[in-house]
Symmetry: C2
Subunit: 187 residues, 2 copies
Amino acid sequence: MPNTSITINTPAWLEHFYKQSKDLDSSIESRMDFTIKIAVQNIKEGGGPFGAAIFEKNTNNLISIGVNLVTKSHLSIAHAEIVAICAAQSKFSNHDLSKVCNEGVELFSTTEPCAMCAGAIPWSGVKRLIYGATKQDATDIGFDEGAKPENWIQEYKKRGIDVICEVNRESAKKVLLEYHKNKGIIY
Amino acid sequence: MPNTSITINTPAWLEHFYKQSKDLDSSIESRMDFTIKIAVQNIKEGGGPFGAAIFEKNTNNLISIGVNLVTKSHLSIAHAEIVAICAAQSKFSNHDLSKVCNEGVELFSTTEPCAMCAGAIPWSGVKRLIYGATKQDATDIGFDEGAKPENWIQEYKKRGIDVICEVNRESAKKVLLEYHKNKGIIY
């Protein structure tokens, strides 16, 4: 099977959120609230309880949205953060998002990134990571988040990436708890 | 930009290696030697000095090949291991490679996986990882491998994944050193 094509199609319903983003202010709370709404919609659409979004810093520009598409794409890498990063890089045809806009880009994730996503972010050119629910909140409902180094936030700082933790955590955690209560698949 | 499609096309020249794999025995040394040849060819084709391949354990079946396609695909996630994992999962339309064959599948990588790839492997269904050159060999020529937990191999074991380290390391390291000597791009 040479010349394989590997494809992730992002869902059509994201269009609604792209349109809605025009009315957002650039505060981290508003952007996280928006990203949480995406995770809620992804559950309704039959996906996992995770959402991510990439914005240009200090502007109103939403660059990309990611949702967990592991089962739909048949790809174990298709976590929300990876989908958002790939969608942004595909949009600009550039594997380095630090080069695509003057202000730099920031990644919002409704839950602390797993080991894979935490490893992927430093290669993406993202300059700031903002997350909601914690690793503990995700493991409490049965998700394996993998093994990250304890000092991962310091390792990010060394590479020029800031991390803002637990923004709107209670709302983000509520999404995980609701998913668990409704017996959502844990994978 | 809703409904984005994210695509990685694997190169046509891999066909030669798919054909050649019919003559391989299932020893880890032969399989690693084969994977190193893929990395060498990827450099000749203008890519990075990394190769990966997924085989069914204890049979002669090559399942997929991965090479570093970061610059060609404009995706920072497109490391050799990720490409091999995605190609295998796309082939079987299954995000869990532990389900696709009776014997289980094993991933060969010419260099110890970076933080992202090491995080991705436990989600893929791969049952054994075999690598050649070490993280130190890669950092010695300037690649940033990211921060993995010190006990990552134990964490793999907990999840039922074996790791065999430094198979044909000297040959694998030689590929990195040659790449460096010829002023290959470090990204």
